[in-house]
Symmetry: C2
Subunit: 227 residues, 2 copies
Amino acid sequence: MKESTLLVFDVNETLLDLTYLDDFFLDTFGDTQVMRQWFAEQILYSQTLTLSGRYVPFGELAVAVLKMVATIRSTALTSAQITQFQEEMAALPAHPDAQPALEKLRTAGFEMVTFTNSSAKAGKKVLAQSGLAQFFSQQFSVELSGCFKPAAAAYGSVSQALDRPPAALRMIATHAWDIIGAMACGWKGALLTRAGNAPLLLGEQPDICGPDLQAIAEQIIAADRRG
Amino acid sequence: MKESTLLVFDVNETLLDLTYLDDFFLDTFGDTQVMRQWFAEQILYSQTLTLSGRYVPFGELAVAVLKMVATIRSTALTSAQITQFQEEMAALPAHPDAQPALEKLRTAGFEMVTFTNSSAKAGKKVLAQSGLAQFFSQQFSVELSGCFKPAAAAYGSVSQALDRPPAALRMIATHAWDIIGAMACGWKGALLTRAGNAPLLLGEQPDICGPDLQAIAEQIIAADRRG
């Protein structure tokens, strides 16, 4: 009996709802679209810090990038606003499709873990309060490798800890950059195209792609269940 | 007599005006702000390709990212629009402050080169039509290393080709990620805070920072001229 593929879930936006921050960005900048600008810059600069060997925890970077975006938008930020932002980042709720999809995958016998760009402590805290932690046997953070996804060393630290070959792992994420990085390491990928996201149609594409986690779960059960 | 610091200029947005593309984004998406979303995603994915060992030329990535943004915005792109975008990318005009600042630095005796994320061919073509190529003794592209800025290997390929130690080079750019990468390699940095850009106040900061190239040029002459 062959083991099923081990499922590795990204957390921020894949399982938890980033649009929970929209009201903060609307109140602060007068435009919810600024949330997307902040998040794109956050990922851009996380990669910059990796390429430059300048890793700092994701939450620390998030505040520095928020201040940078505020400067660009000529908006003054109060310390109360920064505290509010940090509190909301620590309280992202689960997407409504997450729990039923994870239940379906658990029932189908899959082992599931998470792998987040957040620090180990912040990642565990936010997943616990979302109610989703129960589905995962382990929770991994990029803190283990000291570099953010999509660096090869980050995925390598997880496959090593799990003691599984890359081809026995599948990364599930709503960001094409995460899937590109995992697939470059030999993992399988599943791209979730939530609103605000789309595939980058360049190079190798994941064999699984869908607009919500339930659609993704059905495709994973068809493709990856063994035994 | 000690040599002056050798000045390495970024090209896109630092010397050439990206807001030339605003009308294209307004016509295509009904919002000039989408230019900033496209550019942030372009840099984000250039870094992803570097971290994943999946380099493709910047111009090819630019079109793939434009299509990704169009999907996110539920906008259909015609092939005529893609051609127009490519033609405008190849025709970015010089920022008005570039020529006088470069003349001032040339008069002060500085050797100047460019270093762009664009391919060698596209980079040379756009700089030639802008009228600024005359100021530079050499033009470098990330094609030389096969990875985009801010990867250490990209800056390393330039300092090696110039046969100068890192501390004798200064990167001048309007993007904090470019300055972070160069400084992590031991170069000096000068951050140009054009509209739409700001410093990331995290870690080591460049000793030179200014809102336009003339202000930057004056600070460089005061700090870096020798002999």
